[in-house]
């Protein structure tokens, strides 16, 4: 969180102080006085230097109007300190529960920013570390959704650190901000390997006896795209007549094939590569509408099918051998 390298005790004290003042929240974070910080920006410091020059010039020329201008601009800075702070005060930010994401993809966080006060709020930014911020504006008593995209670099469960809501309005001389620490971790699945296919050799132990084809069965299950080489008998001509293209009728067989995606079968590569491969296989199996289970050292997920089954498999893969389940989200390229 604080990227300065401080001596151990100081840093611990600082972290403790920080945690006490910015407790992570599950619901919404209200930016009140103790959660808001404000410092001059680079331009603020430049402005201060400029004021010093003007002041010296005013003394030198004993020019009353130059004094007046210097004091006027200084007052403007003081007022804008207050206005910048005020622009952020009383705003509450709520993080919508983040959707899981595959490693390497951008994770989209959705914040609901609102305030109950009778004033407009301008140029409120939300920023993740040094990524480009998103800006929004709030009407009186208004609320707005802001979407922030975070890069993901490693699988696991992360609480994004270093997200701030900030403003520099109206003069840009001051930067007021509050830390957005939410108790809502982001689940990052392993990156699915590109070259993974469900192959006979990888798919172990067919539960049923024969059938590998789902085209023949007893109960009609649905339509899917026609593949080259399939018998024309199974084409749904009715659908074709409706102009939906060539579709193949699929049937639910009694002898539905089910498969195990097994750690031991992944013969090549590091832990991450294997997990990546297995992730791809889970997705492929789900896509092929096959029953599948997961076998990892020390962990077995029984065979199943469907969205929630897929997610529990992917989550298991994401968290495999992650000792500290809740880490801070590392910076991209870490």
């Amino acid at each position: 969180m604080i990227s300065l390298s401080l001596p151990g005790p100081v840093r611990r004290y600082f972290d403790h102080w920080f945690d006490a003042h910015n407790p992570p929240s599950q619901d919404s974070i209200l930016l009140h006085n103790r959660r808001l910080y404000i410092l001059p920006t680079g331009f603020g410091y430049l402005f201060a230097v400029m004021m010093l020059f003007l002041f010296l010039a005013a003394i030198n020329y004993q020019n009353s109007m130059a004094f007046m201008l210097t004091f006027m601009l200084t007052s403007l800075a003081i007022i804008s300190l207050w206005q910048t702070h005020k622009n952020l005060l009383g705003i509450s930010v709520k993080l919508q529960i983040p959707r899981p994401v595959f490693c390497g993809e951008m994770c989209e966080l959705e914040f609901e920013v609102s305030h109950p006060n009778n004033s407009e709020r301008f140029a409120i930014g939300i920023q993740y570390q040094d990524q480009p911020p998103v800006y929004l504006k709030l009407e009186p008593e208004g609320s707005t959704l802001a979407k922030l995209k975070l890069p993901t670099a490693r699988r696991g469960l992360y609480k994004p650190a270093g997200i701030t809501v900030f403003t520099r309005y109206p003069t840009g001389l001051f930067h007021a901000w509050g830390w957005l620490r939410f108790d809502l971790p982001i689940l990052v699945y392993p990156h699915p390997a590109d070259d993974a296919r469900l192959q006979q050799s990888m798919v172990e132990q067919f539960d049923g006896q024969t059938s590998t084809s789902t085209i023949e069965g007893d109960d009609f299950a649905g339509l899917r795209e026609h593949r080259v080489g399939e018998s024309l008998r199974h084409i749904s001509w009715k659908a074709y007549a409706q102009g939906r293209g060539l579709l193949t009728k699929t049937f639910q067989g009694h002898a539905r094939p089910s498969l195990w995606i097994d750690w031991e079968l992944m013969t090549r590569g590091s832990v991450e590569e294997r997990l990546s491969l297995m992730t791809a296989l889970v997705l492929a199996a789900e896509n092929e509408e096959q029953k599948y289970g997961l076998r990892l050292p020390g962990k077995v997920i029984e065979q199943g099918y469907g969205s929630s089954h897929k997610h529990s498999c992917l989550q298991t893969l994401a968290l495999y051998r992650q000792t500290d389940a809740e880490e801070e989200l590392p910076v991209a390229g870490d």
Partner: protein, 650 residues
């Protein structure tokens, strides 16, 4: 963040803002600098519209160099007021041509703030101050546009925000202005540039010199008298004294320091404060004759008050004078010889007349009287537009044209005196002034400029003789406008504008107050002002403490006010009832989670072991009907809700 490209609207805003800030300065800039401003702004705007490409560096960098050299060639320096302004303007304009990022825009806005300050080296008047506020609002609006980060913002909206910001700053500015301890300057050398007006008295006098000055209605100085205003005819404001005469032109001798003087005075001392407008010279004006010495100035042997530095800024001093006086009885013979000398080759007829007067009359006083009688009785005219005179100017005036202004009368009178062997000299300055009855002070304008003479008479010293008074008594008793009513455009507020007279007096009072309180607020004035407030601010550290406390008090009250104005709206009555319900339930250990709405909450607690759960359903049903139903929020429904909640055991 710093690499961010500036938005299109902000580029236009910054261009406009620069134009607005530079506009009043155009008349102080060389034409080619104004041309560069126009070129740079036009190019940047077209570039912003996509009509032009960015000016390539290989053109820009030599241009910057050439402009720098150009400024140097124009002024032979790059520091100082005029050259500094030209340089700042040129460089700011060229900065526009290589401004792409947001950062550049912010720097340009800051440079515009700097430009305002340069105005004040030229003028510090009330209109300039008003212009400063307008410019400040425009520049701040530009700053807000850049920080607003919206594609399109209405200019009116921006001006409103920025005016609010500027207006809120004014109280703080006043506190800082009054209480920040002032340091006497200068800190480093000032370039010797004239920073004030240019009209005023001159160090020499020739026919036509003063009558030119008379045409200006600019204020020369203003005077606050401690007691009553002396009679108009006594108001001789002593300026440069001229002893040297070359036949046409009167000029000053090198200053003679005052070593010793016998000054016999009569009458009460007259105390007054002069606020002198910058005249670019060293002389201070004082009522004839000054009897007090002030800091940084000295009196010459001619009783002229001289400041050690040139008056390039408004200067205020307290003075004391006596109207009845006698000095110079012990004038050195060497000086008196100078005061009798004249070039023989010019003005032969005048010299002859002077010599004949000396033969005819015995005492100096009689000679003076004879010449004044001549002016009074013969056909002499007092006029602002006398005919042009040749090389024997005094002869032509006395014997041919006989039309002249104060310098003609004073000059010819002094020459006649000298020819008659009476030491005489010219005193220039101002005579009279206009009393501002609204502000109770005297306004002395350039149009009140005057020239008179002093003759040296044994045992009486230097005696003032005003030959103009002999020709036109009105000039001295009632002022120039009465004396030349049909010739000059009247500058007196009273006569010029009888209807709006009071208003104009008020406006001049305002300017006088501005000079007094704003432009003259220096270290001394600050000390006196704060001491006279009698609130215990006596020194530097008191000022700082008072400053910090006041700043905190004002910002604190702003804070409270905005907090009050922007407080969240008061919750509706039914919400308060609902909170009461939740409080009651909390005593039973049932808490609503923030993420639950009332119905999911109801569903959850229905499953729990709570004896009154049957009563809860109608309450929550009613609550939702009031909250979401059309016309649900009636008094009846609210009362019903309250009684239902009352019925719950707590």
């Amino acid at each position: 963040m710093s690499r961010e490209i500036s938005s299109r609207s902000s580029v236009f805003a910054v261009c406009f803002c620069f134009l607005f800030a530079i506009m009043p300065l155009f008349r102080h800039l060389p034409l080619w600098v104004s041309a560069i401003v126009a070129f740079a702004l036009a190019w940047r705007c077209l570039q912003n519209l996509g009509r032009l490409r960015e000016l390539p560096r290989w053109i820009l960098i030599p241009t910057v160099l050439f402009c720098g050299i150009g400024v140097f060639a124009e002024y032979w320096t790059i520091v100082g007021r005029d050259a500094g302004l030209a340089l700042l303007t040129v460089m700011t304009s060229l900065k526009f041509l290589e401004s792409r990022r947001r950062r550049d825009m912010l720097i340009l806005v800051f440079l515009c703030y700097f430009l305002i300050a340069t105005h004040f080296l030229y003028s510090q008047s009330i209109p300039t101050a008003v212009m400063m506020f307008a410019t400040l609002i425009v520049i701040t609006a530009t700053l807000i546009t850049i920080n607003r980060r919206e594609a399109r913002v209405s200019p009116l909206d921006l001006l409103r925000s920025s005016s609010r910001l500027v207006l809120l700053s004014i109280p703080l500015m006043l506190i800082l202005f009054v209480l920040v301890p002032r340091v006497p300057g200068p800190l480093w050398g000032l370039t010797n540039e004239q920073r004030g007006g240019i009209t005023g008295l001159s160090d020499h006098m020739s026919p036509g010199k003063i009558s030119n000055l008379i045409r200006s209605n600019e204020v020369a100085f203003r005077v606050d008298f401690e007691g009553d205003l002396p009679a108009q005819s006594q108001l001789y404001w002593r300026g440069p004294v001229m002893t040297n005469f070359n036949g046409y032109r009167w000029s000053q001798l090198p200053r003679r320091p005052l070593k010793e003087i016998t000054l016999t005075v009569s009458g009460p001392p007259i105390g007054y404060t002069v606020t002198l407008e910058p005249n670019g010279e060293q002389w201070l004006l004082a009522l004839d004759v000054p009897t007090r010495m002030i800091e940084d100035s000295f009196l010459t042997a001619d009783m002229q008050l001289i400041n050690k530095k040139k008056i390039n800024d408004l200067y205020r001093y307290d003075m004391e004078s006596r109207l009845g006086y006698q000095f110079g009885e012990q004038e050195s013979e060497r000086y008196l010889t100078r005061a009798r000398s004249y070039p023989e080759e010019y003005n032969p007829r005048t010299v002859e007349l002077g010599k004949s007067l000396a033969a005819k009359y015995r005492g100096s006083e009689e000679i003076v009287e004879a010449v004044l009688r001549m002016f009074r009785q013969q056909q002499f005219f007092y006029t602002l537009s006398p005919p042009a005179l040749g090389s024997h100017a005094v002869d032509e005036f006395l014997f041919q044209t006989r039309r002249g202004f104060c310098e003609h009368y004073a000059g010819s009178f002094a020459l006649l005196m000298r020819a008659a062997g009476v030491p005489a000299r010219i005193v220039t300055g101002y005579q009279g002034g206009e009393f501002n009855r609204v502000g109770n002070y005297l306004i002395v304008r350039q149009s009140d400029a005057h020239a008179w003479t002093e003759v040296w008479i044994e045992k009486r010293g230097w005696v003032r003789v005003d030959p103009t008074a002999a020709v036109s008594p009105n000039r001295i008793e009632r002022g120039l406008d009465d004396a030349l009513a049909d010739e000059v455009s009247n500058f007196r507020i009273q006569t010029r504008n009888p209807i709006f007279g009071n208003l104009l007096y008020r406006w001049d009072s305002l300017q006088h107050g501005w000079n007094d309180w704003v432009l003259n607020y220096d270290e001394r004035k600050q000390r006196v002002f704060l001491r006279d407030l009698e609130i215990g601010i006596d020194n530097w550290s008191d000022m700082v403490i008072a400053l910090v406390l006041l700043l905190l008090a004002v910002t604190g009250s702003f804070w409270l006010l905005s907090w009050y104005r922007e407080r969240p709206p008061k919750p509706a009555a039914y919400e308060l009832q609902f909170r009461r319900l939740l409080k009651k339930l909390a005593r039973h250990g049932i808490e609503k989670k923030p993420s639950e709405d009332s119905r999911t909450f109801l569903r959850r607690i229905s499953a729990e072991d709570f004896e009154e759960r049957e009563q809860l359903a109608p309450i929550i049903e009613l609550y939702n009907r009031i909250k979401y139903g059309r016309d649900g929020d009636s008094a009846l429904a609210r009362n019903q809700l309250r009684s239902l909640i009352d019925a719950l055991q707590s």
